[in-house]
């Protein structure tokens, strides 16, 4: 960090501090040029785009099933939610009816992903306020979620989980055992972390009142997800526009009051418990039936059929080569991602690739309020505010 003193018209000695683009405290590539009065931030300016990978352009040349790996790299802390959001967008366009079992399987995976996402966010807030042990302890549990992903799809971080039309394979009894064991054991670990951090004097002193935003202002900035709910507005896509059978489950939407770092932390803590409730209900009531829809043009046929049946071979070839045309149309589908409303706006001109794909990335939209939220506060609060907003560079820059 370089510190340059610049005199200003108000005859005050402000200094300019360049925080980023790579800074150990910001967990990602974010640049903020801060005008400082001592330790108080007077003005801030963000520069973003350091890991921009042109996803919206890339998507215009890729067949539908090849866009799923791109979505992995948006919010890479909860890739399965991004994958499912994309599958559901295409399913809406082609009008596929997803069987209940596949919907419940998706809900289980998405809620586990939400827990993994919130584990990272909350432990990182603790790390930034000086508590490293909770982080290392909780990461064992994130690891267990990754083991479940691995058993389901073979991948851990960028999962590419599920397919357009359902899931790629059914849950094996081992996977169900693993999920049940996680649901059973995780609350104890969460309680321990809770006791370690939530009422810790240092943590409370550091986070209460830091980086606060009012509900009204948060709405003007189109906040969504835990950051909006921490400001007291109970908007959750899972309840407002239920998808994938979320209406079948009984869960609460935790909200905060002040919209500060502590409230964001508390909302995420409470959401993890609600997610566990959903996973528990889904795994106990997992319906029997098929794990994918009957859409042969889009869903890869079983391997034994490919070797023995003519149509299956043709469909397999067309899907793998990306030669399946998708109907003309314009859809928007949103899911509740780890950070809020993750939406895909898709225009298809009837070809094999989208004509236009726009991703509504919650991070991109709420990060613009960051400069306003940290102005007038301490530099150390700015670091905590960023980690509590859970700004993920992949989703910010797309």
């Amino acid at each position: 960090m370089e510190k340059v003193t610049t005199p200003t018209p108000e005859s005050k000695d402000y200094s300019t501090l360049n925080l980023g683009p790579t800074h150990p405290a910001t967990h990602g590539i974010f640049q903020n040029i801060l005008t400082m009065d001592g330790e108080i931030i007077v003005k801030a300016e963000s520069t973003i785009g350091y890991i921009h990978r042109a996803f919206e352009k890339l998507a215009e040349r890729r067949p539908y099933n090849q866009i799923t790996p791109i979505t992995d790299r948006l919010n890479y802390c909860s890739s399965p939610i991004n994958n499912m959001g994309w599958h559901m967008t295409v399913e809406k366009l082609i009008g596929a009816e997803i069987p209940k079992r596949a919907q419940y399987m998706r809900v289980i995976i998405m809620e586990l992903a939400r827990i993994a996402d919130h584990v990272i966010c909350n432990t990182v807030i603790a790390v930034d306020s000086g508590a490293l042990s909770g982080f290392l302890y909780m990461f064992q549990w994130r690891e267990k979620i990754y083991e479940i992903y691995e058993a389901i799809c073979g991948a851990r971080l960028t999962t590419n989980i599920g397919r357009v039309g359902g899931m790629e394979r059914d849950f094996t009894p081992e996977i169900i055992e693993k999920i049940k064991a996680f649901v059973n054991d995780f609350p104890k670990a969460l309680d321990e972390f809770d006791r370690l951090v939530t009422r810790n004097r240092i943590f409370v002193d550091r986070t209460v009142g830091a980086g606060a935003i009012s509900g009204e202002r948060a709405l003007e900035y189109s906040f969504s997800g835990p950051n909006l709910r921490a400001a007291g507005i109970d908007y959750d896509v899972r309840v407002m526009n239920p998808y994938s059978s979320y209406q079948d489950f009984d869960f609460n939407i935790p909200v905060g009051t002040r919209g500060d770092t502590y409230d964001r932390y508390m909302v995420r803590m409470a959401e993890m418990r609600e997610s566990l409730k959903i996973v528990k209900q889904a795994i106990e009531n997992l319906p029997a039936g098929d794990f994918h829809a009957d859409v042969p043009e889009f869903y890869l046929p079983a391997k034994e059929d490919v070797y023995s049946k003519m149509e299956a071979l043709i469909y397999h070839f067309k899907i793998v080569m990306g030669e399946t045309d998708v109907p003309k149309g314009e859809v928007y589908h949103a899911v509740e991602g780890g950070n809020g409303e993750l939406g895909y706006y898709l225009i298809s001109d009837g070809g094999r690739t989208p004509f236009r794909l726009h991703m509504r990335r919650p991070c991109f939209i709420f990060y613009q309020a960051y400069t306003e939220m940290i102005s007038g506060g301490l530099l150390s609060d700015a670091i905590l505010t960023m980690s509590s907003m859970n700004v993920i560079a992949g989703e910010l820059d797309a």
């Binding site: 314009e330 236009r356 726009h358 309020a369």
Partner: protein, 164 residues
């Protein structure tokens, strides 16, 4: 859905004197197409009608649509009534000046910068209209359809059997 479409269309046409050029239902979204000159009035009227949440906005390029090559799409959400709508306006490639929506929603700031960056819309009245995701030195707008993704000189990518 069609009731919502009808209600919003009547409201806009009554308040703003026949402003809706056309409307349709795209899956679960009522879509309204308006003239560019009226877009700010329409958005303001809708915001006062309860659509207080700007979900997203983006530009679209239709190179074959003569006279309306570019479109700007706005998606609004009324959180109280749980209604979502989409508003679009088309414009010629010769005139990409647009009124800004930053005076209505603070979140429009970066979304408009993104639309400027990728398509070149010029939002009049925007407080800080400069590139956001691409580098400042870039002299073109990369999401326009005239820029193919792959280098045209790459013959190894040609696939004459599948017509891509």
């Amino acid at each position: 859905m069609s009731e919502l479409l009808e209600r919003i269309q009547n409201k806009l046409n009554n308040d703003l004197n026949g402003v809706v050029v056309s409307s349709q239902l795209d899956y679960d979204f009522p879509v309204f197409i308006v003239e560019k000159a009226n877009i700010h009035h329409v958005l303001e009227t809708l915001k006062n009608d309860g659509f207080k949440y700007l979900t997203t906005m983006c530009g679209i390029h239709f190179p074959d649509n003569a006279g309306g090559e570019f479109a700007m799409m706005y998606q609004l959400h009324s959180l109280e009534r749980n209604e979502r709508i989409r508003v679009k306006c088309f414009m010629s490639e010769k005139d990409l000046d647009m009124p800004t929506a930053t005076d209505l929603w603070a979140s429009a700031n970066w979304m408009e910068r993104e639309a400027f960056d990728f398509y070149g819309f010029k939002f009049k009245g925007h407080p800080n209209l400069k590139r956001i995701l691409n580098m400042d030195e870039m002299n073109y707008h990369p999401l326009r359809k005239e820029y193919p993704l792959e280098d045209a000189s790459r013959h190894d990518k040609e696939d004459k059997y599948f017509g891509r």
